[in-house]
Subunit: 138 residues, 2 copies
Amino acid sequence: MRSDEIIRRLRRSGYKVTPQRVSIIKTLLGSREALTPAALFQKVRLVDPTVGEVTVYRTLNILSELGLVCVVSTAENVNGYIVRPGGHHDHLICSECGKVVDFRNCNVSELEKRLASETGFVIKEHRLDLYGLCPQCA
Amino acid sequence: MRSDEIIRRLRRSGYKVTPQRVSIIKTLLGSREALTPAALFQKVRLVDPTVGEVTVYRTLNILSELGLVCVVSTAENVNGYIVRPGGHHDHLICSECGKVVDFRNCNVSELEKRLASETGFVIKEHRLDLYGLCPQCA
DNA sequence: ATGGTTGCAAAGACTTTGCAGGAGG
DNA sequence: CCTCCTGCAAAGTCTTTGCAACCAT
């Protein structure tokens, strides 16, 4: 998802488009990994020092309510936020150096079908993270 | 995973097996959904009123450190805990109510092989989260 | 103009830590 | 027995809320 799409959705839902919100959205989009509110605040602050931590929280809550962002659990039992992926969101992550490679063609549609019939869930999207060692670290 | 396995792992790691810890572990195992620390505390308390909330937190931290339990994000942006399924870490998550179902047989080993040869990564584990609507919310 | 927004400070919620008494191995 | 564990209370974090000034529309 691109920042202008998110901004349009905001405006369409009756929220005002302030420079602080734009900075927060762009920073979130610019990060590959999930950001905690505190981490996002620090990153935003480098670009736009007018943004306060409270506004980060408030903006994340709005984006979350609109379904534009989703919440994941980070390693330290803290909630992290990422922009909700368009189709999917599949990563190959090196446990040693932290490098992240994106890939498509994850081919879990068959699995999705099977689980849908077993559990009754309507499956809309997914996220697959594979962990291992990259060629340099192996 | 069964409670006696978890208890054995605890003892083997040098932790003592107290009735409070046993109650907490059994309650966590008895719940199909992820429990927040507060929810787990309430459930445990019904079975064993000697368990304090602080002990719930401490036990969850130990289980998490040993990798016996994993953390998921619940609907209200609060961390929930579930016992980690055997090998991997696969979830089916309702975007509406936040319910989490874990499953096995995710069958990504073929994909892992293909990616390994394409990227040179040595793949060790993975995490697959599927998002959708549960039968109640659909 | 005007209603939503912002930063600040304070309050509220969640989680961890210090301590004295108690229990597991 | 000795060490780790427990509950309680207090401290420490994380997140939300009240308020006056401010800005997008």
